[in-house]
């Protein structure tokens, strides 16, 4: 029945767009939020009738029996949380042009953006559910297409440029993935993960298979924005509207890039020395280059974008350790990153909306005027930098321990160093934006409104809660990862 996670949003979208429902487009936000909340509680309470019931008429209708595991549940949870945050930010930052325009030609942009957000969320649910390479490809495309459009939702030069870069690079990735799928199809004759894995183990040294693996992995690297395939990422993240940045940085690239990579490595390719070395190398490069690049940014969102590259590096590094612990750290960091990076982008949205600029050199002392935003951003950045006892510390710790245990001591040391760099650029960000003397012109600055403070506070609470509750979460959150390998 998990297939309902795709079907229900689709039906909701269709209902929302029925002609006689157009005037009720205020409902869209609530529909989206309710969908996210339902998903959230379905994961937390995991009622067995939903997740485990044998496929009834639905299964026969769609001929689709997704095999769910722990990893999927974590992703559903993250998608729900980030999706809800993005929807709330959308309510805050995208102004509906209902009033200024003539009643007949109302533009209801917020409504469209919300529709697209729901579409993207549905696509990601599909990515998580997919157990077959072609379905995976279809849902990757849904997410990607929705994202391109979302980035340009507010128009503007930068937005078009960012979206275009994303589009082109993503097209390259898509081409590579499609080519890989074709090659694997030739080899296995089928596209389900299980069958391809069987075929691959039968002919693991075939050059065709290896070329397919390489192209698949590179395609996912591009989707995930890893060095040196990251060119589109800073532009797309920083040019996108606030709500879309939250969604993109928090979950889209993580689902389409990192989660898919983990899933493919686990379910299809399997670990090998070469692959591990490749992942370690790319992960470490992303981690360091991302952090160093973030250090030199003066645009708030651009800095966060590079920070995102750096954090994705950590996840890939954890995966590259090739052990259960590394995998656990990677997934845990993915979840934590979804929370704290969304939080940072939510804060960035609030700051941008209130001050009208993203240039950190022109800000200063904002925490005085926007205390909630200031506090939550401190929590988020401490978590990102891996300061105990916040959530980010534990996942980084697990990744570093995993690297150490698997004998990659140099990489573990690099991870620690990159953590210092993270601290450095976030401290510089805090100093320039939130602390210090109030910059000129911000005397009348007000705290952002409640629509954005709610997601900020909730995300901050999750970060703290996960960090402090780690001894309890260890049993339920980390140990089940054992079942994956």
């Amino acid at each position: 029945m998990p297939v309902l996670l795709i079907i229900v949003p689709l039906l909701a979208l269709l209902v929302l767009n029925l002609p006689w429902m157009r005037l009720m487009n205020r409902l869209a936000l609530w529909v989206g939020l309710i969908l996210c909340l339902i998903q959230f509680f379905l994961v937390l309470h995991s009622p067995s009738f939903f997740w485990e019931a044998p496929p009834l008429w639905l299964g026969r209708l769609f001929l689709f029996a997704p095999s769910l595991d722990y990893l999927s549940l974590v992703m559903f949870l993250a998608i729900a949380i980030v999706g809800a945050s993005a929807l709330l930010v959308c309510r805050y930052s995208i102004h509906d042009l209902l009033e200024p325009v003539k009643p007949g030609a109302c533009s209801h942009k917020r409504f469209l953006v919300i529709n697209l957000l729901i579409l993207a969320l549905t696509g990601m649910n599909g990515v998580v559910l997919a157990n077959d390479l072609f379905s995976l490809y279809v849902f990757l495309e849904i997410t990607a297409v929705a994202s391109y459009i979302l980035i340009v939702a507010e128009k503007g030069r930068d937005a078009f440029e960012g979206a275009f870069k994303y589009l082109v690079m993503s097209a390259v990735a898509t081409a590579l993935i499609l080519a890989a799928i074709a090659l694997l199809m030739l080899t296995a004759g089928d596209l389900s993960y299980a069958n391809i894995k069987l075929a691959m183990s039968a002919s693991s040294d075939s050059h065709i298979v290896l070329a397919a693996v390489a192209m698949l992995v590179v395609g996912l690297f591009i989707k995930g924005g890893l060095i040196p395939f990251h060119g589109w990422l800073p532009d797309a993240y920083s040019a996108a509207p606030a709500a879309v940045s939250v969604l993109l940085a928090g979950i889209v690239t993580k689902t389409t890039g990192v989660y898919t990579l983990i899933r493919i490595v686990l379910s299809v390719i399997g670990f090998s020395d070469t692959l591990e070395n490749l992942l370690l190398l790319i992960g470490a490069a992303s981690m360091l280059v991302g952090a160093l690049a973030a250090l030199g940014q003066s645009d708030f969102k651009r800095m966060l974008a590079y920070s995102s590259i750096s954090q994705v590096g950590y996840m890939v590094l954890g995966l590259g350790a090739g052990t259960i612990l590394g995998l656990a750290g990677s997934i845990f960091h993915l979840f934590n990153h979804a929370i704290f990076k969304s939080l940072l982008f939510v804060n960035a949205a609030a700051v941008e909306q209130q001050t009208g600029t993203r240039d950190m050199n022109r800000m200063g002392g904002i925490a005085e005027k926007m205390p909630v935003t200031g506090c939550t951003s401190i929590i988020a950045f401490l978590s990102t930098a891996g300061i105990p006892p916040l959530a980010g510390f534990w996942s980084k710790l697990i990744i570093i321990v995993a690297l150490w245990q698997s004998g990659h001591i140099a990489y573990a040391v690099l991870a620690i160093l990159a953590s210092l760099l993270t601290l450095a650029y976030f401290l510089s960000m805090q100093r320039r934006v939130f602390f210090g003397k109030l910059a000129a012109g911000f005397e009348n600055l007000k705290e952002a409104n409640v629509w954005i403070l709610i997601p900020a506070c909730v995300l901050a609470a999750i970060t703290i809660g996960v960090g402090i509750g780690i001894p309890w979460l260890f049993e339920t959150f980390l140990l089940p990862i054992r079942s994956l390998l």
Binding site: S204, V218, P228, G231, D235, A293, G296
Partner: protein
């Protein structure tokens, strides 16, 4: 014995000290009487506790650490003495201190010091003792610093010297605990082998530094000038001697078994002799009442260390007896100095003179105490010194000779002090000087009387206070009470005293006044340059240490700069070089980004296809 009573000597002064802090600045008088009342009550309790035995053990924290106290004869004795001095000096302070600033702080530190000393004495656990012992540093610092605005330097000096010594003691305690396997003092009995000797030396450093022996003495003369005078009478003259010698006796008698064959015994004796001679030589040339006394406070410690260092019963008894005697007459002397300072307004000997007529009671008390310290029969100082001489002679005649020479110089310096301050011509502006108030006289009189009593009826303190410390087994049936000294020794002592007197007459006649009576020694050919350098503190271990520390600090500063440079400049430059490189690379050109991806793709394909 209930728990209350063994806690009382610690808890009452500490609690009262904290209450004293609550007094406002203008309530100094009330605070003084409060403090006197507390010390009186404390004296009563200490008297009651004396001679009783009790112990208390409470588990405190983890790791088998126990808060254990033990009251027995020795600790009861020290507590009683401390309580007595505490009461008398508190009484004295009510008159002496009444127009000073920071009175509430002064009395708070006073009471806290008393409580800490009691705690250190009662503690039966080395760590607990160390805790109280170290806490004394804080009150010491506070007491000195409230003396005058420029006392800060002295306070720091005292703090650092005591702190270094306490650090040594901490090391010693650590080693002792490791070797003994227990922290309980009454269960430690270590034989003196190589390592335990090292531990002994560390502990000894802590003990003799607390007592003020050389080379840990140099803060005392400075403090004498800067700190409030009752502090001098209470802490360096009385409590610290009691505490330091108490601990020295504990480690020599209980914790370790110091015997004459060990190399530690000569070590202690040599330290004792050097302290006696050097300090008294310095005392001889001082021209300030309080500073002169403070050097004697150092010098007399030498006798105690010498006595305990002999490791023979008669010497130990002499050392311990000298400890209590010294505490009495030295407090009395400081109190007389305080009286002079209060009434005449100065302690500079050059500006004093002829006070005998104006302050007769103070003068008599001074004479009694000075006779005691010089070892004039039949005062108490004579008895304890004779016992120490006996012990020293039992080991080697050289120690005896050094002690005797010290005695000569002591007598000479006190003749000089008495002559300069109380005899001679009255100073011009001192015609209106009057006798000190009763609250200051009473403590002096009591102590002076006790000096005489302890001398004439020496069996009273020796049998009741001192000899039980050693125990019947060590005494082997001897008793040292009474007057059965060797005639030769007594004769020699008397001869020395007469020599000192003649020397003084000659010197005073030569210089024309009492103050210059020691000038012929001061300006003697070899001694003069040495004295000169000593006065400029060239021999002060603290100053030498400071110089060394400054050099080390300079080197460390250089190293630190280097490391800072590495972090602040090199690391940052390298990071920013990378960062700006990366910034330059991100030109925003899609073509560039695509080429990177293409290159990455080719490399990865090559890697995977070539690698597997």
């Amino acid at each position: 014995m209930s728990i209350n009573f063994i806690f009382e000597p610690i808890a009452l002064p500490l609690a009262a000290g904290i209450i004293a802090l609550l007094f406002r600045r203008e309530q100094g008088k009330a605070c003084a009487w409060f403090c006197t009342a507390v010390t009186a009550a404390h004296l009563a309790i200490a008297t009651y506790l004396f001679g009783k035995e009790a112990s208390l053990t409470l588990p405190w924290g983890a790791f088998g650490f126990e808060f254990s106290l033990k009251l027995y004869h020795f600790s009861g004795f020290i507590m009683l003495a401390a309580a007595g001095f505490g009461f008398l000096i508190s009484l004295y302070s009510t008159a002496f201190m009444n127009d000073r600033r920071f009175l509430n702080q002064y009395y708070a530190y006073f009471l806290l010091t008393l409580g800490m000393v009691n705690g250190a004495v009662l503690a039966d656990n080395l760590i607990v003792m160390l805790f109280f012992w170290e806490s004394l540093l804080l009150t010491l610092f506070g007491m000195i610093i409230i003396g005058q605005p420029q006392a800060f330097k002295t306070a720091v000096k005292a703090f650092i010297i005591s702190g270094v010594a306490d650090l040594c003691m901490m090391v010693g305690i650590g080693m002792t605990i490791y070797m003994a396997g227990t922290m309980t003092m009454s269960q430690i009995h270590l034989p003196l082998d190589t390592w335990s000797s090292v531990a002994f030396v560390f502990l000894m450093i802590g003990a003799i530094a607390k007592a003020g022996a050389m080379p840990f003495h140099s803060w005392i003369p400075d403090a004498a000038v800067d700190a409030p005078l009752p502090f001098m009478a209470l802490v360096p003259a009385a409590l610290e001697k009691l505490l330091g010698i108490y601990f020295l006796a504990r480690i020599s008698l209980d914790l370790f078994v110091l015997n004459p064959r060990s190399w530690l015994s000569p070590l202690l004796m040599v330290i004792g002799c050097i302290t006696i001679l050097l300090a008294v030589m310095m005392a001889l040339i001082q021209r300030d009442y309080k500073r002169l006394l403070s050097f004697h406070a150092i010098s007399q410690v030498g006798y105690m260390i010498l006595g305990i260092g002999t490791a023979v019963p008669v010497g130990i008894v002499g050392g311990l007896f000298h400890m209590i005697n010294h505490a009495m007459y030295k407090s009395c002397l400081f109190l007389s100095g305080g009286a002079v300072e209060k009434q005449a307004g100065t302690t500079d000997l050059a500006k004093l003179g002829g006070l005998r007529a104006q302050m007769p009671v103070t003068f008599i008390c001074f004479v009694v105490a000075a006779a005691s310290i010089s070892g004039v029969p039949p005062f108490n100082g004579f008895i304890s010194k004779e016992l120490i001489y006996d012990g020293a002679l039992e080991r080697h005649w050289l120690y005896y000779a050094a002690a005797l020479l010290g005695s000569f110089l002591t007598a000479a310096s006190f003749l000089k002090l008495g002559h300069a301050a109380y005899l001679g011509k009255p100073a011009a502006n001192h015609s209106k000087v009057q006798e000190a108030p009763a609250a200051m006289l009473i403590p002096m009189i009591i102590i002076a009387v006790l000096c005489l009593v302890f001398g004439l009826w020496n069996a009273l303190p020796l049998n009741n206070l001192i000899q039980p410390i050693l125990g019947e087994a060590r005494l082997e049936g001897h008793t040292f009470a009474g007057w059965h000294f060797s005639v030769t020794l007594v004769l020699l002592t008397v001869l020395v005293l007469i020599g000192a007197f003649l020397n003084h007459i000659w010197g005073a006649k030569r210089a024309g006044n009492g103050l210059g009576a020691a000038d012929h020694i001061h300006y003697a050919p070899v001694l003069h340059p040495l004295y000169d350098k000593a006065e400029r503190r060239l021999f002060d271990p603290y100053e030498i240490g400071l110089k060394i520390v400054r050099v080390i600090a300079r080197i460390a500063w250089g190293v630190d700069r280097g490391i800072d440079y590495l972090y602040d400049t090199v690391a940052v430059k390298v990071t920013y070089a990378f960062t700006s490189g990366i910034r330059k690379a991100h030109t925003g050109s899609l073509l560039a980004y695509l080429s990177w991806s293409l290159a990455g793709l080719i490399v990865i394909i090559a890697l995977i296809m070539g690698g597997i």
